[in-house]
């Protein structure tokens, strides 16, 4: 059985986009449509709202390992994670010139402070700090969030975007529902037959989609799903099924993901590029669409470490994900100096232990270049899982 060339072509296309740090695809889109493009940092922004106003939401996730940091390091001490310095670097070297604004979701103090730096460094672009609520009562946190979204919509309009209308927003929600459904399907396929959806490949597809309008991202997912599912050349191997947790903001280098897979792990669930899955199910299309968007955030978002878990057992979602994915181990894989991930980890570890699932932990930076230690650690971990699962 020979591999399907269409699959490798698709992955190559996605890879080219993923490598496109200067966002040329975004510039092309702007030339083509005359629309605004607004970047956003991890983890989540309601892209539907931007889309409904004719704005291209562009997901930014720091820099690739080959990005040379010339100026960014002068802004950050060594004990701060890497993402803000590459973000500054890309801003200062002109890579983000196509962006008419940047949205900084409230996930940690680093991103928060970066929003103020951006206001000063790039005074001509829109800077919006999306202060997502940690109170999940619709009348309180919901009302606050709604006002924040309305403010964002007005700010976009002031920059030349279309006014936000219910009809447009409903249509955008429908488009993103379909988009999220396909991502869920991809994750489901990988859970069932991880050999068909290597994570290094899926990851690149998910990253590429961050630069595309949803009208192009959805067909990309659909095509990839179809091709991956039907590729019979991909056969199961004796690998350990693992869930990778903690990489929701600064992303590991692609080579690290490949290293994990080569060291004997099937990644059956992860936190990578989480914006695609941050809202877990379809957002209803009836009623007031802005309110629906707000409610989705309040009641149907993933239990990210950046989100206060008001009710229920902390870590319960991880236990559930372990059960659903059939993961036999957890790799806690967090960026160095990442407060939300690392402060959360002891609680996540307890959740894994409650579920009776073994775990191991290591850290990375987006520009890490050496994976020897991680390869050995993950390899030993995978071997021990395989050994014990056979007993």
């Amino acid at each position: 059985m020979t591999p399907d060339p269409r699959l490798s072509n698709l992955v190559q296309r996605a890879d080219a986009l993923f490598r496109d740090q200067a966002l040329s695809a975004v510039s092309e889109w702007k030339t083509r449509t005359g629309g605004l493009a607004v970047g956003f940092l991890p983890i989540y922004v309601p892209r539907e709202l931007l889309h409904a106003q004719g704005v291209l939401p562009v997901g930014l996730m720091g820099g690739r390992p080959d990005l040379e940091i010339i100026k960014g390091d002068a802004y950050y001490q060594s004990y701060i994670c890497h993402l803000p310095r590459s973000t500054i670097e890309l801003g200062l070297n002109g890579s983000y010139d196509a962006l008419d604004g940047l949205i900084f979701p409230a996930i940690c103090d680093v991103i928060r402070n970066l929003s103020g730096m951006w206001q000063m460094l790039f005074p001509h672009v829109l800077v919006h700090y999306l202060d997502v609520p940690q109170n999940f009562d619709p009348a309180i946190g919901g009302a606050f969030y709604r006002r924040d979204l309305e403010m964002l919509a007005r700010a976009l309009e002031a920059r030349g975007a279309r006014p936000l209308t219910d009809d447009a927003l409903r249509q955008s929600i429908a488009l993103y529902n379909e988009n999220r459904r396909l991502v869920r399907d991809l994750y489901a396929l990988r859970r069932r037959e991880p050999w068909k959806v290597p994570t290094a490949e899926l990851y690149v597809v998910l990253r590429a989609a961050l630069l595309l309008p949803v009208e192009e991202a959805t067909p990309l997912f659909a095509e990839y799903l179809e091709l991956a599912e039907s590729d019979e050349s991909r056969r199961p191997q004796d690998q350990a099924r693992v869930l990778v947790a903690g990489s929701f903001c600064e992303q590991p280098p692609l080579a690290l993901i490949k290293t994990l897979e080569r060291s004997g792990c099937y990644i059956v669930d992860d936190d990578f590029v989480q914006v695609h899955r941050f809202i877990r199910s379809d957002i209803p299309l009836d009623g007031d669409p802005l309110q629906r968007l707000v409610e989705a955030f309040l009641t149907d978002a993933v239990a990210s470490p950046t989100r206060y878990i008001a009710d229920g057992v902390k870590g319960a979602e991880l236990e559930q994900r372990l059960a659903e994915s059939g993961a036999e181990g957890v790799l806690f894989c967090a960026p160095s100096f990442c407060d939300p991930a690392l402060l959360d980890q002891p609680m996540a570890v307890r959740a894994a232990e409650r579920a009776g699932v073994p775990w191991t932990a290591f850290k990375y930076a987006e520009n890490s270049g050496q994976f020897q230690v991680i390869r050995e650690q993950a390899g030993t971990f995978a071997d021990s899982i395989k050994l014990w699962s056979g007993v």
Binding site: Y79, G141, L343
Partner: protein
């Protein structure tokens, strides 16, 4: 992040210091006796603390940040942090959290050597720092205490909007007050709260007077190291009490007296006789080598005339006062206005203003590894304040309570070079 008094350092004790010591001792006595007396306690944070509200319910505040820094001053944190790291807490995260976890695992003995009670409530005033949320999630797993979450929005555009105020007030009404009613079995008493808030404003007036006395040359106070002691009562368990009112009145009188006599601040080595450098300081101090760190300044004749750290529990010098006529709104505005809840441009404006208004020769940033809230962006602050004020900035790195990150020789070297540079500038300007 929080200043707090331990044993006041100066050799001769002023009556305000004696009073403060007695206030602290009484407070910890009450906490230690809580299991017998049935007194309720709430753990909470310094920025955005709701002391008046807690006291209106007779709930005793416990501030884990203060416990951590006091543990550091007592030389305990190396052991506590090691214990927390052994339990799986990352070496990369805030050492206050690890110190607190280590202290709890070692029997929860507080700064006075007495045991702290298990909290009846974790009041998560979530302002100015994301670590707070994780910290209390961690404590919730340990103590199984209820949590009241008060999410305070960030002043991202440098102002407080009506929506922010409403959001916080609504949470006070629906999330915080009901929890306090539940744990105490008492009703919210607005008149009592108002009386407490009125006393807060009185004490705040006096505190601001004390901090602004540093505009005088020579400054009668050290507004960084010394201010740690001054802000202790108001940033912690005493705001709104008669004790705090008395303390700040006495303190003001003492400082006024020093000013009349033309005296400089009291340092670990006694009175400073000559003020050679006036500096503004950004960032929290190091607590494990607090006196040594202070001495490095004092030995050079350097006086901190203003600091941002003394504003983490409220930037009162910009005019905010608790307002008894708007009790919940004023608490909301207080929470929204703490220093680390201000965006970077506002922090830069404030520092620049301090440098100018306090006639400082320069400003220093002590960047602590633990704290992204303070530290992420400080190099940018450095450049901007230098450019705007025209005064040189210095940058040193240490940590709050982890002794591994206080490199005395290195810091001393940097400070000496910095002060030398100030000297040369001055000579250059004079010639």
């Amino acid at each position: 992040m929080s200043p707090a008094p331990v044993t006041p350092p100066p050799a001769q004790k002023d009556s305000s210091q004696v009073r403060q010591k007695a206030m602290i001792a009484r407070h910890f006595d009450r906490l230690a006796a809580a299991p017998e007396t049935g007194a309720r306690s709430a753990y909470t944070f310094v920025p955005g603390n709701l002391t008046e509200l807690l006291l209106s319910f007779d709930v005793l505040p416990v501030l884990p940040e203060i416990n951590a820094l006091q543990s550091a001053m007592r030389g305990k944190t190396a052991e506590y942090i090691a214990m927390a790291e052994k339990l799986g807490h990352s070496e990369d995260v805030c050492t206050y959290v690890k110190s607190d976890i280590g202290m709890m695992k070692s029997g929860n003995v507080g700064p006075t050597g007495q045991r702290l009670p298990t909290p009846d409530l974790l009041l998560l005033s979530y302002t100015g720092c994301f670590t707070f949320m994780k910290w209390f999630e961690l404590l919730r797993e340990e103590y199984h205490s209820p949590v009241a979450m008060l999410h305070v929005p960030y002043q991202a555009d440098g102002r407080i909007t009506e929506a922010m105020r409403t959001y916080v007030v609504d949470q006070l009404k629906t999330a915080v007050i009901p929890k306090l009613e539940e744990i105490t079995g008492r009703n919210y008493d607005e008149d009592r709260l108002k009386a407490l808030l009125a006393r807060s404003a009185q004490a705040e007036d006096d505190l601001v007077w004390v901090l602004q006395s540093a505009k005088h040359v020579p400054s009668p106070i050290d507004a960084y190291f010394g201010a740690v002691y001054y802000v202790g009562p108001i940033f912690s368990a005493f705001r709104g009490t008669e004790d705090a009112v008395q303390y700040y009145r006495e303190l003001r009188e003492e400082i006024a007296e020093r000013m009349r006599e033309g005296k400089g601040p009291v340092t670990p080595d006694g009175e400073m006789d000559r003020e050679r450098f006036r500096v503004v300081v950004e960032g929290p101090p190091n607590w494990t080598s607090f006196r040594q760190f202070w001495k490095m300044f004092a030995d050079e004749g350097a006086v901190a005339v203003a600091s941002t750290y003394s504003k983490v529990g409220g930037v009162y010098d910009l005019g905010f006062r608790h307002d008894p006529d708007r009790p919940l709104e004023t608490l909301a505005e207080y929470c929204l206005g703490c220093y680390t809840n201000l965006n970077l441009p506002t922090r830069i404006d404030l520092l620049t203003r301090y440098v100018t208004e306090y006639r400082a020769d320069g400003f220093l940033i002590n960047s602590v590894k633990s704290c992204n809230s303070f530290s992420a962006g400080q190099l940018h602050i450095l450049r901007e304040v230098e450019a705007r004020s025209g005064r040189p900035g210095g940058f040193i790195e240490s940590d709050l309570v982890d002794p591994r990150y206080f490199s005395a020789a290195n810091i001393k070297n940097r400070l000496e070079s910095y002060f030398q540079m100030l000297d040369q500038k001055r000579l250059g300007a004079a010639s």
